[in-house]
């Protein structure tokens, strides 16, 4: 699905990531951890081609990312569901329209029942008409997850999805991600919450990657 081959990323004269070698296989579950500012979000942005590597070779769905045109990147993103750290909603649209946005931009539709089922799955079925600024942090994170999966993507990328929510809500979001993985989706979650990782490893065979000194390493088994 996603293959990093000696990838590096530099910005403003400094190298943020270097010699990243990583392979996210279909149906795998990975956590990406590391201290704040280590480059977790940068690595995720490379995964959905918002950033391009400055060295090395990054392959997304068997295509070298630098060879993709803007429209090809757009089509590739439809195969990925991304839960952004700051959710990235359109504040003038109600929750349902935001959740349906990936369908709207790709010219597809969904039935009200399917949309209702999805919102029920994330526990937001009563809030469909609310605007994003009216939602709590946890509701926004769950809405972002609903939007990430509405196209039934092959890959789910989540950047600190539990960053703004309490422990109970974190567990609920984690359960949703585990369910998606069991449905065959590839999942990569960037988080610095080690308790969350430990809880997840009890439910799913997840691998833990750690960014340290600009490099990605497999983390110790004690996590």
């Amino acid at each position: 699905m996603i293959v990093f081959d000696n990838v590096a990323y530099s910005y403003g004269g400094g190298e943020l990531l270097s010699e990243v070698n990583l392979r996210l296989a279909a149906g795998s579950f990975h956590f990406l951890t590391g201290p704040s500012g280590a480059g977790k979000s940068t690595l995720l942005k490379l995964c959905y081609a918002e950033l391009l590597p400055t060295a090395g070779r990054l392959t997304l769905f068997d295509r070298e990312v630098r060879s993709l045109s803007r429209d090809e990147v757009a089509r590739m993103r439809r195969r990925m569901g991304v839960v952004h750290q700051d959710c990235q909603f359109l504040d003038h649209l109600p929750l349902t329209a935001n959740v349906m946005l990936p369908l709207t931009v790709s010219g597809r539709e969904t039935t009200p029942k399917d949309l209702g089922d999805l919102l029920t799955w994330v526990g937001l079925d009563k809030l469909g008409d609310q605007l994003p600024p009216q939602l709590s942090g946890g509701e926004r994170q769950r809405a972002a997850l609903a939007r990430a999966v509405i196209m039934s993507p092959d890959v789910i990328l989540a950047d600190e999805p539990t960053g703004n929510v309490d422990w109970e809500m974190s567990l609920r979001l984690l359960t949703l991600l585990v369910e998606l993985n069991k449905m065959g989706k590839t999942v990569l979650v960037a988080t610095h919450d080690l308790n969350l990782i430990r809880t997840a490893k009890a439910q799913v065979p997840a691998r833990v990657l750690r960014i340290a000194n600009r490099r990605v390493q497999l983390a110790g088994a004690d996590l």
Partner: protein, 294 residues
């Protein structure tokens, strides 16, 4: 306009409604269409005038005969004889006293005593499409009727016809400039709207929107705004033209500034044309801006 499909309406909804650029675009389109109606009216009226004067110039001429009263009839007969035997002249006839009086009435009043005045007799001739030899005719007239002078209207009608033709071109040029100004204004507004919505565009791209989808949202919005603005402006312009005094002989060109017959349909073409201009301008601006925002 109905061709803008449902997918374009859904694209339109993802862009938040904007404040100043919305009414600015509509107002500018209305003002431009209002001006365009008058430019169109000017162009069409000038065209009619140029055609009329050019037509008269090429088809008719007058022979003016100034002679003592006792020789007048003989010279008129001689002139008619010359004209009827000149190749290229389709017909010739002497104006009656009533017609001469009607020509002079605007200057001298209705009760003009023609008998008491040395008023020249006029002979009107109509030429064939092939035309006649003006210089040859002048020489023959000089020989047969010394008091006859051929006036082929060239001296005074030609500059007027040229002026009317220039006026028509200026009207057409004004229409072109109005269209260019509209395109420029729409381009600037669309670029500003795209720049103001950079974050929206970023979100749309993150969820897989292609440039064509994002551009459609702005193109549809600006095309419709321009269309409705131009419709209002064209309607106001039409009302303005319709309220102008009707054409009459005394008013001449100014009162004839308007539309005649099927010409009234021309202003109805302005809103679709303005919409098309906005469509093309916004599309070009949108794709250029989207390339910048990569």
């Amino acid at each position: 306009m109905n061709g803008l499909r449902r997918s374009e309406r859904s694209a339109d909804r993802v862009v938040p409604p904007t404040g100043p650029t919305a009414w600015l675009t509509g107002f500018t389109a209305a003002a431009m269409a209002f001006l365009a109606v008058f430019a169109l009216a000017l162009s069409l009226a000038s065209g009619r005038l140029a055609d009329r004067w050019s037509g008269a110039l090429s088809q008719t001429a007058t022979v003016r005969i100034s002679a003592p009263a006792d020789q007048m009839q003989a010279q008129v007969a001689a002139v008619l004889d010359v004209l009827t035997t000149t190749p290229g002249i389709a017909s010739a006839r002497a104006l009656t006293e009533e017609e001469t009086r009607a020509l002079l009435e605007p200057w001298f009043g209705p009760d003009l005593p023609l008998d008491a005045l040395p008023v020249p007799r006029l002979v009107e001739l109509v030429e064939t499409p092939a035309g006649y030899d003006g210089e040859g005719l002048r020489q023959r007239l000089a020989a047969e009727a010394p008091g006859a002078v051929l006036d082929d209207h060239t001296r005074w009608r030609r500059p007027l016809a040229v002026a009317a033709e220039r006026l028509r071109l200026l009207g057409a040029l004004s229409l072109g400039l109005i269209g260019a100004s509209l395109a420029t204004m729409v381009t600037l507004s669309a670029s500003a709207a795209l720049a103001a919505n950079a974050q929206v565009i970023r979100v749309l791209r993150l969820v897989g929107a292609q440039d064509a989808f994002i551009a459609r949202a702005f193109v549809r919005r600006f095309t419709l705004r321009t269309f409705w603005g131009a419709s209002a402006g064209a309607l106001a312009g039409l009302i303005g033209v319709a309220l102008l005094p009707s054409a009459d002989a005394a008013g001449g060109f100014l009162t004839g500034l308007g539309f005649q017959g099927a010409g009234w349909l021309w202003p109805f073409a302005l809103p679709p044309v303005a919409g098309l201009v906005a469509f093309v301008a916004t599309r070009i601006a949108a794709f250029a801006k989207l390339r910048e925002l990569t």
